[in-house]
Amino acid sequence: MRVPINWLKEYVEFDATPEELADKLTFSGLEVEQIESLGAEYVLEIEVTPNRPDCLSIIGVAREVAALYESQLKWPDADFKEGSERVEALTSVELLDPAGCPRYTARVIDDIKITDSPGWMQERLTQCGVNPINNVVDITNYVMLECGQPMHAFDKKLLRGERIIVRPAAEGEKMATLDGVDREISPDMLMIADARKPVAVAGVMGGAGSEICGDTTTVLLESAYFEPTQNRKTSKMLGLVTESSYRFERGVDIGKVEWASRRAAYLLAEHAGGTVAQGVLDVYPEEAEERRASCRFAKIRELMGVAISNRRIVEILESLELTIEEQDEDSFIVAVPSFRVDLECERDMVEEIARIEGLDKVPDDRPRAEIVPNIDDSALRAVFECRNRLVGLGLIEVMNYSLVSSEIIRKFGFDEGSIVPLLNPISASQDVLRPALLPQMIETLGRNRAHQAAEAGLFEIGRVFRMDKDGKSRESDHLAVGLMGNVGRAIIDKRREAAPEEVFLWMKGIIEKLCSSLRVSNCLSVQKERPYFRAGCAVSVEINGVECGEMGVISLELSEALRVTEPMVVLEMQVKHLLQSVYTVPQARPIPIYPSIVRDVAIVIDDAVQSEQVTELIRKNAPPELTDVNVFDIYRGKGIRDGKRSIAYSLTYQSLERTLTDAEANEFHESIVTSLLKELDAEIRDKK
């Protein structure tokens, strides 16, 4: 709502600069978004919240100013000399839908001469963002801006049958609105019709067929109250929001419908040469009931937490033109004027009192700690543990949008039926909910590569969305980790290129460390084939025996598309499996008191044999004294035939009962190595 300050001053006196006024309004609930200076005039741009349609007018704002500056509201002139002809002789109003239109008034003004409206009026309209058209249309707009009541002026000679009918649209009816659009109307919409056809969509826009034009001489002036909900529906169905519909759907002042008509007639008589017919047709079958709220002083103080006096409470409400009807020292009954459609009950009065008294009067230095017993939110806190451990492992946390492009998702080969699309996306780049974190993780790695980061170790914990068979969307929290390039290497070793296998093993190390710190067991098992993974370089991830994720090396095609030459390895898994034992408290076990003995063995095996097979065999044949097996070297090259590699293991022997002798350890080791070589058909790498 745009409010020129000089116009405002016609209705209320106050002594304040535009800035001071703007501040005062903002801190009482009418937020002034900006002050525009137009020559000698300042115009306030006010954001009027949907509950305050009364402030969609200059007088409405003036009423607030009067309360804030303890001033009086001055109403403008609306008295004029009526003509001799009675309005009833000229037209009639038939109200067929009193629910949709509880009040309808019509006046007839004759002898109209269409000209431009006076300069001052045009100026004010322009300041408020309304284009001047001619004196009649400008006056209806002026009165709407002035008091908030939308009006419509018909050229009476273009109306048939000397009557106005307020009725629902008939099936299949059509009409052309003022903006020159032919519109389909439906029986849900309320129409203003003449004897033959609709001439306006009630409260939204007039029809082109009865528009004021240069040779208009007689005006039928409509001022009415249309029911907000239906009005909003109509405006939505037509996709048409006007100054008029905007006000009706929020609620105009049903008590001032007739006054507004009188005010407009006054201006038509003044500035359009009009003769106003005697009387007004005011169809108002059931007068709106006055709203009353019973309130308790103590409750108001309690809710505010402020010791405001009874006297001050009453004073504030009265300054807002509310009427205190009954009052004792505990409570009162307040009558709400018709323009305050937002006030219904005691709680609403608290807001009025708080905002006029000033929210700065409410103390802000009494924070309280209160415990609600027996509430356990540890499951929801667990994710913080997970995040902090990933940071401890050296990864940088990223956050991607939940909305992604369906085109990219399709490229990743997700099942179309499981994708959750938006009905009204803003753009094609964000038209579905993400079904997984990997596509964005890979993209993020690529984008960082484009910014000259040759390596990155990233993670994201976020929600993913899938459509189930019943068409319901299911959401769950996932973890994604992405590694690119030499991220796992020490700083002085960065030039040594990392093979995809090495990056994969860094990722494996991350998941292992994460899992052991979260007290779950993990295992990488069956190979996974995915369009985005390099064939044979991806596996599924199991936590405590349940498959809940996958990890692998990004395919060459995808890497190339992102122009990344460094190997990229990504992991994605469900978070809940990771967090199931976060709060398991580790119990102390005795540490061995007898020394351990370490023996090494390096064996040459086929590339096809996996390291884990070897360790499993070692363990299978081992005595209980074997407590640990570690790989400490892998070698290919000179001295080792092609297709083979040497893997060196260190085996730790220890007894819980006594000190092992070298001879015993050697014996254990000998026997393990012997059966290992036999079972694998392998040989020991020559020690030189």
Binding site: S28, G29, T49, P50, N51, T229, L303, M304, G305, V306, R347, D348, V350, E351, R355, L359, D360, V362, P363, D364, D365, R366, R368, E370, V372, D377, R381, F384, R387, N388, V391, L393, G394, L395, I396, E397, V398, M399, N400, Y401, L403, P421, L423, P425, I426, Q430, L433, T444, R447, N448, H451, L458, F459, I461, F465, G471, S473, E475, I491, I492
Partner: protein, 361 residues
């Protein structure tokens, strides 16, 4: 420094004349002297000084070796033997000296193989995303006031996001938030407030929860708006909860989150699910309220809305509005992160550039 100079002086006292050739007896004598020096070295520095003096490149031993060829052949064999003995014995004495007194500490600037100026090699920590840091920090602060965490889905029903929050269809208050809809009639929550309803439906009062989460609005994104953003919802319902509690708890939060000097201001506003309703701003931390790019020169940054829970909302979950009252607030996490870390464009938070994120370790 001081100590080194003293050590040097001691070595000087035991001056060895650099002679061109040394006879066997002289070598034996020098060896004795060297052994005494080594045994008597009081520190790693002195021991090292002795080593350099006798075994170093320009020390006594190379001089002896060099002089051997000039000796009379009759003495040369013995001198050679003694020179070897010299080397062995003095090396052993130095090693022994190191072992016995733990004098292995390297000498800064003296040992050529030790360079403490090379880059540190232990792998680094990662970093938390600023939004996730602010979420965890917020939860921690509210926990200290007795709040627990609650959660709700991102994909919501119209009922939880609007109807139960006193925002009926065909009411203009729905226009405040432009909503993303799914084809099945669900929507993406426009606020974290649906969690209020979900919690109150399950739990009788008192309720004291915070609910961090993602929200979605069909805003076109700019420096301060994003279609995807985070809020933390707060709800406190109990026998007598007042606006004083609301203002005090939010102000306490701001001071703990941003700093003791932050100012919080409350402006009356309208939300269908609170009455009275307020919007609140934090003073801009980046410019101390003087006005800068982040706060658009106003000195203040709008954080979000709050208010006293509308009795109609309490009624919709079966609470008795006469018996309990409550406050609720939403906080824009990104806005807080922007103030706290001096970030002037919300989009930076979702570009995931490691050069940006790496700053928040």
């Amino acid at each position: 420094m001081c100590r080194n100079r003293r050590a040097d002086r001691r070595i000087m006292d035991m001056e060895v004349r650099a002679v061109k050739t040394m006879r066997p007896s002289e070598i034996a004598e020098l060896m004795q002297k060297a052994l005494v020096d080594c045994a008597g070295a009081a520190s790693a520095e002195e021991l090292e000084a002795a080593r350099i003096k006798y075994l170093g490149r320009k020390g006594a031993l190379p001089a002896i070796m060099k002089g051997l060829k000039d000796l009379d052949p009759s003495e040369r064999a013995e001198a050679g033997k003694l020179a070897n003995e010299f080397k062995k014995a003095v090396s052993a004495a130095i090693a022994e000296g190191k072992r016995s007194s733990g004098k292995t500490a390297p000498i800064p600037g003296r040992a050529p193989s030790f360079d403490h100026t090379l880059p540190g090699l232990w792998r680094g920590l990662g970093s938390r995303h600023p939004v996730s840091q602010v979420i965890e920090e917020s939860v921690r602060i509210f926990s200290s006031l007795g709040f627990t965490i609650a959660d709700g889905p991102d994909v919501e029903t119209e009922y939880y996001n609007f109807d139960a929050l006193n925002t009926p269809a065909d009411h203009p208050s729905r226009d405040i938030q432009d909503t993303f809809w799914l084809k099945n009639g669900s929507l993406l929550r426009t606020q974290t407030s649906p969690v209020q309803i979900r919690v109150m439906e399950k739990q009788p009062p008192p309720v004291r929860i915070v609910a961090p989460g993602r929200c979605y609005r069909r805003d076109t994104s700019d420096a301060t708006h994003s279609a995807n953003f985070h809020q933390i919802e707060g709800l406190y319902v109990d026998a007598t909860v007042s606006m004083t509690d609301l203002k005090s708890d939010i102000t306490y939060f701001a001071q703990r989150m941003i700093g003791p000097d932050v100012k919080v201001r409350f402006r009356p506003h309208f939300f269908p699910f609170t009455e009275p309703s307020v919007e609140y701003d934090f003073s801009c931390h980046a410019c101390d309220g003087d006005g800068c790019r982040i706060c658009k020169k106003s000195g203040w940054i709008e954080i979000s809305g709050a208010g006293m829970v509308n009795p109609k909302v309490l009624k919709s979950v079966g609470y008795d509005p006469e018996a309990v009252s409550g406050y609720a607030f939403g906080m824009g996490i990104e806005r807080i992160a922007m103030i706290k870390y001096g970030i002037n464009d919300i989009r930076m938070l979702y570009e995931n550039d490691v050069r940006f994120l790496g700053q928040f370790v």
